[in-house]
Symmetry: C2
Subunit: 178 residues, 2 copies
C-alpha cells in the first residue's frame, strides 16, 4: 500500500498513537488502513462413502485437487459462502450438516471455516475455476496431487471420523514449513 | 474507497471481467481491491462460577459491558488473538479450553471466534480500552447494560452449558434487527 484510498496522498507505515504495531496511515486525512486476516470458506461435499474434489483450473496449484473453497465475501454468512463456493467451483449443491474444521494459517493471514455437506444429487460439473470435478472413494483420493495440505488434513479427518461414526469439530494451526 | 492504494489513481466500482459482483478496481494499474469480512476474536474468561467482563472505555457502546474481544491481526492465530485481546482489555491471562462460539454477522461483515478460557489468577484490571474489569456470578451479570447481543448470547450459553456440565460449540448467524 502506497497511497491513501480515501484521499490519494502517500501513506506512511508507522505505529499510530495508542497502537502497538505499524499500520499504513495517512498524515493528510488521518485515515488508518487496517489489514486483517481473510476467511476462506469451504465444504466437504460427500455422497455415500465418496467425497467430491475439484481439479484447479487456476493458479496457485493449477492442475491439483482440492475441496471447493474460496474467500468469504462481505454480506454473506460463512455457511452461505461455503455453499456459494461449492456451486461456483463444482456446480454442486449440498445440504450442510455442521461446521467441521476451523484452521488458522497465521503466516499467510488466513482462517479456514470448512463445513460438511451431503450432495443433494449427482448433477455437478466443473465451474470456471475447475478443470474436472469428481467423486472419490477413500482409496481413490489423489493424495500425491492435492493442492493444499489443509485440505488433505480435512479429508483425512473426514474418512477417519466416518469410520468412527462420529464427526467432531477439528481445529488447528498450520505453521510455516521450516 | 476513492483512490487506488497501489498507484494513487481514482478507482472505479464495477464488476471485473469474470467476476460476479462489483469491486473497487483501478483502470490505470489494473489492481482489484477486494474487501472481505473481518474476524473478531474473543474469550469467555472464567474462574470458578464467575466470568470476567469489561466495561468499555471507547465507542461504540462506551460504558457498557462486554467480553474481551477485538479484531484479529495479521500474523496471529485466532486463539493467540483471543489471548492478546484478553490481555489488552482486561490485563488478564487465561488458559484456553477450546473454541466455544462461531458467529456470523453478515450485515456488518464480521465473523466471531470466541474461546473459553480459565483465568490463571485474579491479577487483572482495566486496559486502555476498558473503564472497569470485574468478575460476575450469573445473577450479577449486568444484562441490561451489555454492549453487544452476540456477547449476551455467548454468556447465556456459557452458564446454561455449565449447569449441564457439557460445553459444546455454539454456532449462529446474527441477522439485522428489522
Amino acid at each position: 500500500m502506497k497511497f491513501c484510498s480515501h484521499c490519494g496522498h502517500t501513506v506512511a507505515f508507522e505505529i499510530p498513537m495508542g497502537d502497538d504495531r505499524p499500520r499504513h496511515l495517512c498524515h493528510d486525512c488521518g485515515a488508518i488502513h487496517y489489514v486483517n486476516p481473510r476467511v476462506i470458506v469451504g465444504v466437504v461435499p460427500y455422497l455415500g462413502d465418496q467425497i467430491l474434489l475439484c481439479k484447479r483450473a487456476i493458479e496457485p496449484r493449477l492442475g491439483l485437487w482440492t475441496l471447493p473453497a474460496g474467500f468469504m465475501e462481505n454480506g454473506e454468512s460463512s455457511e452461505e459462502g461455503a455453499l456459494r463456493e461449492c456451486w461456483e467451483e463444482a456446480l454442486a449443491r449440498v445440504r450442510t450438516d455442521d461446521l467441521y474444521c476451523v484452521y488458522d494459517i497465521p503466516h499467510i493471514n488466513q482462517v479456514y471455516l470448512i463445513y460438511r455437506g451431503e450432495l443433494t444429487d449427482t448433477d455437478f460439473g466443473p465451474g470456471p475455476e475447475s478443470l474436472e470435478v469428481e467423486l472419490f472413494h477413500e482409496d481413490e483420493i489423489p493424495w500425491d496431487d492435492m493442492a493444499f495440505p489443509i485440505m488433505t488434513e480435512t479429508i483425512q479427518h473426514y474418512f477417519a471420523d466416518r469410520k468412527e461414526g462420529i464427526f467432531k469439530l477439528h481445529r488447528g494451526v498450520i505453521e510455516r514449513k521450516l
